[in-house]
């Protein structure tokens, strides 16, 4: 389980995170929802140790954040993290060289699934293809958890469909997924837990299925209540 406990962070005098607490379970898709600037990406970066926080605690399966965590948690940012001069195959080789948990067979499967050309240079990829490649790099690690920052942002309809397809496969099912989005439409039917953020703090966290059955509300209905009500 990923536990985020009372996270505080300031940036240029503004409270970016103001006591954020939530959990993301293994085997579930947890979605951080919020408008731009709500602190969604900052939370993911803080979990991955990519930005310092003023106070608070982050634990992955009861262990604090450290170098070994990177074999347990994969992060798919909303942009490329492989040098643009590298070919896709070289980027994959880099991951294979550094991560013990790298699953080369799965990487090859995903190359075919996403119809990616391994000889292509990373710098030549379109935004949609770059998103697929980033997803490939994240999913080809045998990690317990995967963090995704805006996996559908700025991507064409067909690429969205292909990426969404991945969420209903066993590549995702057994893991704990924590993702961010401000476009919930594509994700609503996929997510198990929703965490609604506003001004750097959690406004509401709920189980989507429970909300649907007990109160008859969709995630969008709840969002409307929280953000506009």
């Amino acid at each position: 389980m990923i536990e985020v406990i009372d996270l505080h962070k300031r940036y240029r005098g503004r409270k970016v995170l103001n006591g954020v607490s939530f959990t993301a379970e293994k085997g579930q898709i947890t979605c951080l929802i919020g408008i731009n600037g709500a602190g969604k990406s900052t939370i993911l970066k803080a979990i991955m140790g990519l930005t310092p926080v003023k106070s608070g605690l982050i634990r992955i399966d009861d262990a604090p954040v450290g170098p070994t965590m990177y074999e347990k948690v994969a992060f798919v940012p909303d942009h490329l993290t492989t040098p643009t001069g590298m070919k896709l195959s070289e980027g994959i080789q880099f991951m294979k060289d550094f991560y013990v948990n790298w699953n080369d067979a799965r990487a090859n499967e995903l190359l075919k699934f996403f119809k990616l050309d391994r000889t292509e240079r990373v710098g030549n990829l379109s935004k949609g293809t770059a998103a697929k490649y980033s997803l490939l790099l994240g999913l080809s690690q045998n990690t317990d958890y995967i963090l995704m920052d805006e996996p559908f942002s700025g991507i064409d309809m067909f690429s969205r469909e292909v990426i969404a397809e991945v969420f209903s496969t066993d590549l995702i099912e057994d893991r704990g997924v924590l993702l961010t989005t401000h476009e919930i439409d594509d994700m609503e039917h996929l997510i198990d837990q929703a965490v609604l953020l506003q001004n750097g703090s959690v406004q509401l966290a709920f189980d989507c299925e429970e909300m649907r059955t007990t109160e008859g509300k969709s995630v969008i209905d709840v969002m409307r209540e929280v953000y506009t009500g």
Binding site: M48, T51, P52, P83, G85
Partner: protein, 276 residues
């Protein structure tokens, strides 16, 4: 260890074209100017022309050190260019991972190894580039000596040692010191400089706008600390308080403390404060 070597290999791989270009420019400029200078003088000597007729000095016998002295600018230019590029790259080696379409720093900071390995691998890469250029210059000098012997007929030249040739040019003399002690001082100071630059870059990357001030302050403090013992005797009145041996030991201690503190600070920033 394995990941460290892989990172070093990757950093060298990323810089390879620039490194080879610098070597190519050095080869072209030094050999080109040497050939041009020697052919001009040999031709003048063969024709029996005087200094007044050709407008440049014609020695009785040509030597390799003489050739180096007379192609001075063209010898120094590629060396200075290489030094400038390598100093700039000591900064760019970090920033290139933050900027551009791909932010590779995300991946580097998420590698399942201690982050200080990243710092040390980048430092190793810079030192590898420096010593590769030095080794290349040494090999080039041997080649240029052979070139000299090929162009200048035996009757027109006088033998000289390799050391004479490298001593006569001040830049070559600094880059290739004759005493091992001098080599340690020169390159030790260079390594300290790179470490201080690395830590200054990490200060800026960690604290951003405020970090620029921290970085500038840090570089100034480090430079002052290293220079202070050297200029101390000049600052004091005629009755110097410190013996030269004591100043030497203070300087040595500072030159050990500055890189150790810089490395520790750099490692801590990477572990605790760095932000992407």
């Amino acid at each position: 260890m394995n990941r460290y070597l892989k990172l070093v290999n990757m950093e060298i791989h990323r810089f390879r074209y620039i490194l080879f270009s610098l070597m190519g420019i050095t080869l072209l400029l030094q050999c080109g100017s040497l050939i041009w200078t020697l052919q001009r003088v040999v031709s003048a000597k063969e024709k029996g022309l005087t200094q007044a007729e050709v407008g440049f000095a014609i020695p009785k016998f040509l030597s390799f050190p003489w050739a180096i002295v007379n192609t001075k600018e063209w010898f120094i230019l590629p060396i200075l260019l290489s030094i400038t590029v390598l100093v700039l790259y000591s900064i760019i080696i970090w920033y290139r991972d933050w900027f551009g379409r791909s932010t590779f720093i995300y991946r580097l900071l998420m590698l399942p190894s201690a982050r200080w390995v990243l710092y040390v691998s980048k430092l190793t890469a810079i030192l590898t580039f420096v010593f590769s250029m030095i080794a290349f210059q040494l090999v080039l000098l041997v080649g240029e000596n052979m070139l000299f012997k090929t162009i200048v007929p035996a009757g027109m030249r006088t033998d000289s040692t390799f050391v004479e040739a490298s001593t006569i040019n001040p830049v070559l003399n600094t880059l290739l010191p004759k005493q091992f002690e001098q080599f340690i001082y020169s390159y030790g100071l260079g390594i300290i400089g790179v470490i201080v630059i690395f830590t200054a870059v990490l200060l800026e990357r960690s604290y951003r706008r405020l970090g620029i001030l921290y970085a500038i302050g840090y570089v100034v403090v480090c430079a002052a600390a290293i220079l202070l013992p050297a200029i101390l005797p000049a600052l004091e009145s005629s009755s110097s308080y410190w013996y030269p041996g004591e100043i030497y030991r203070i300087e040595l201690a500072i030159c050990l403390i500055v890189p150790v503190i810089s490395c520790c600070l750099g490692f801590w920033l990477l572990r605790k404060k760095i932000t992407v």
